[in-house]
Symmetry: C2
Subunit: 351 residues, 2 copies
DNA sequence: CTGAAAGCGCTTACAG
DNA sequence: CTGAAAGCGCTTACAG
């Protein structure tokens, strides 16, 4: 039913070798022959199958994107960037979803690992973009060293300490921007709700870096760091709610605070709900900044000031780093840190 | 680098034919031989490449999902369902994103068509799930008649009149539920903001069916249909805002209304913002129901009562209908209408 | 019970 | 300038 190169060859009265030459713009084909073949291809809408093109070269012209779920905009945006960049290449995208939450339980890690092994051992892809926490990081680093094309997009900072290509967000400077903004508005006592600083026994760099940015912004402004103004959440809305509650309860006996930096938007929203219930107005009584720029931010009232990450661009770059590996076998591990952008909305105002 | 069936055969001292027999659980293999091969496969983590398995059968064991973008939760949810259902099959998922908005301009349609032709002519997929408006519907119907496995998921009702397999939402009954709910709360004057009833020259069934459900709910309750209570939007938040404004302006000289059925959530949200600005409280002065159940609904205040569509399940069924076509060559076009669920939140209350 | 050979749709030396 | 042949990794008749 579908046309093959042999069908084209038959119609043109030549061998498939010649057709292949024409398709691939190789020299040494008679102009007449070339034109005739081109005309037939045009008429029949023949498009060579990239998978078959790969066959002889022991590749598939397929790349995989493996992620843990499509909840929330981060991974969806990454997928959009990846897909968009890939559409102008010869590669097609295989989508794999392990469908596990993060943080991940040992059983879920186990399942994910099996999924990963299977993807790789199947040999259906020439390379893989991972946006997927794994426990077996050493295995991946080895795989990469052995020449399997691999790029990580890192939403939780879980691969950044390994010698593999990683695309990540400059969480430190993003937090710095956010807290500088608050300080610039005249706030002196600024609380922070951090993300989980550790999962299992390994540090969550995302959370750690955002905390570090917070601390350094205070320091450069000559403001003291006060551990009473720090609460650790887990990136969920509920934890934002309970953390701000704890901070406020503590603050009643301390000197209070007038601004909050939440390490992600969901926690900022949870905190704003709690503030609202306590009769504290945002931004009049409390300025709030989040991190992520999820679509929700623009809809809630007041709209949330936050830090935007160029996730789509990160996806695109990941594709480029992957293709480079596939085609040039360049194995220099690269870390790329993407800059963030402060989005000022209505949840912050001068003290 | 990657293991092949020949590597396994070599290690086991047999031919690849025998290994193939073992992998595929064919009879007539000596128990000893079988066990030995199984052991080697186990040790080496060999997994046959599904693409190569397909090769000899002129298939690829790949199915495609072609959609117009990943904005908003509908198509993301569909993708999740598709991916999840596929993971327990031998098929892998190729993701294609035409990256056009809907409604679509002629140029975008043109681009989409070219994309579609290319996907199909390339021959990389055994079948395709479309969540993608196209202008060339006849071409697709023919393609399907000729035996190319195709399933449509229909978010705008654009393919429902063609003789192809379509999975869609029971928009009529969803609207019926929504308006019955309002009537049950004692509302007698209920306004509606419809979706676009026509795009280009073809009816948008989604909008038409929701309007029909609204009308019939009124009729069965013995309430009159009043065209002064109908405004046509385009599913955008802005159109919700402007439609409710128009309705209210009109209503000042008419007999008013106490409830609103917006044909999607975004328009409901736009309307709620307008009501708020006019000093009308939801749900005290006006009950509002939407349609879609986007994640936003639970975050806005008041949380929005709406109609939920089982999109993920629709994706799963689409996969089953596709695989059935691929494997059984069954060509009975099926239309499946998925039931909706009314989600009652805080935006509606008794009159 | 087992294997050699052909074939799926391409490309790539190689020969002419 | 052009084509026959081998090969990529599987499966499927067919032969033994």
């Amino acid at each position: 039913m579908r046309l093959t190169i042999n069908d084209i060859a038959k119609r043109a009265g030549v061998s498939s070798t010649t057709v292949s030459r024409v398709i691939n713009n190789k020299p040494d084909v008679d102009t007449k022959t070339r034109e005739n073949i081109l005309k037939i291809i045009e008429e029949t809408n023949y498009v060579p199958n990239p998978i078959m093109i790969g066959l002889g070269k022991s590749k598939t012209n397929l790349v995989g994107f493996f992620t843990y779920n499509l909840v929330g905009p981060f991974r969806v945006e990454a997928l959009r960037g990846i897909s968009e960049r890939l559409s102008s290449s010869q590669y097609q995208l295989l989508f794999y979803n392990s469908n596990v939450p993060f943080p991940t339980t040992p059983e879920q890690y186990e399942r994910t690992s099996r999924g990963l092994f299977e993807i790789i051992n199947k040999g259906s892809v020439d390379g893989l973009i991972m946006l997927q926490p794994v426990n077996d990081k050493t295995y991946l680093a080895e795989l990469y060293q052995q020449g399997f094309p691999l790029v990580f997009i890192d939403d939780w900072g879980y691969m950044s300490q390994f010698d593999v290509p990683v695309v990540e967000v400059d969480n430190y400077n993003g937090a710095l921007q956010a807290v500088r903004h608050l300080i610039g508005l005249g706030h002196q006592r600024i609380a922070i709700i951090t993300g989980p600083l550790e999962v299992g026994s390994s540090a969550v760099r995302t959370s750690v870096d955002r905390l570090a940015g917070y601390k350094d912004a205070l320091k450069e402004a000559g403001l003291p760091f006060d551990s009473a103004l720090v609460a650790q959440g887990d990136f969920s809305e509920e934890s934002g709610y309970s953390c701000i509650t704890a901070l406020l309860d503590r603050a009643e006996t301390a000197s209070g605070f007038t601004a909050l930096f939440a390490s992600n938007d969901l926690m900022a929203i949870g905190a704003m709900n709690a503030l609202n219930e306590r009769g504290l107005k945002v931004p009049d009584d409390m300025s709030v900044v989040g991190f992520d720029d999820i679509p929700l931010d623009a809809y809630i009232r007041p709209a949330l000031t936050t830090v935007r990450m160029p996730v789509k661009e990160m996806g695109k770059l990941a594709v480029e780093m992957l293709i480079e590996q596939i085609e040039c076998k360049t194995l220099t591990a690269k870390k790329v840190l993407f800059p963030t952008e402060l989005i000022i909305r209505a949840s912050t105002k001068p003290r």
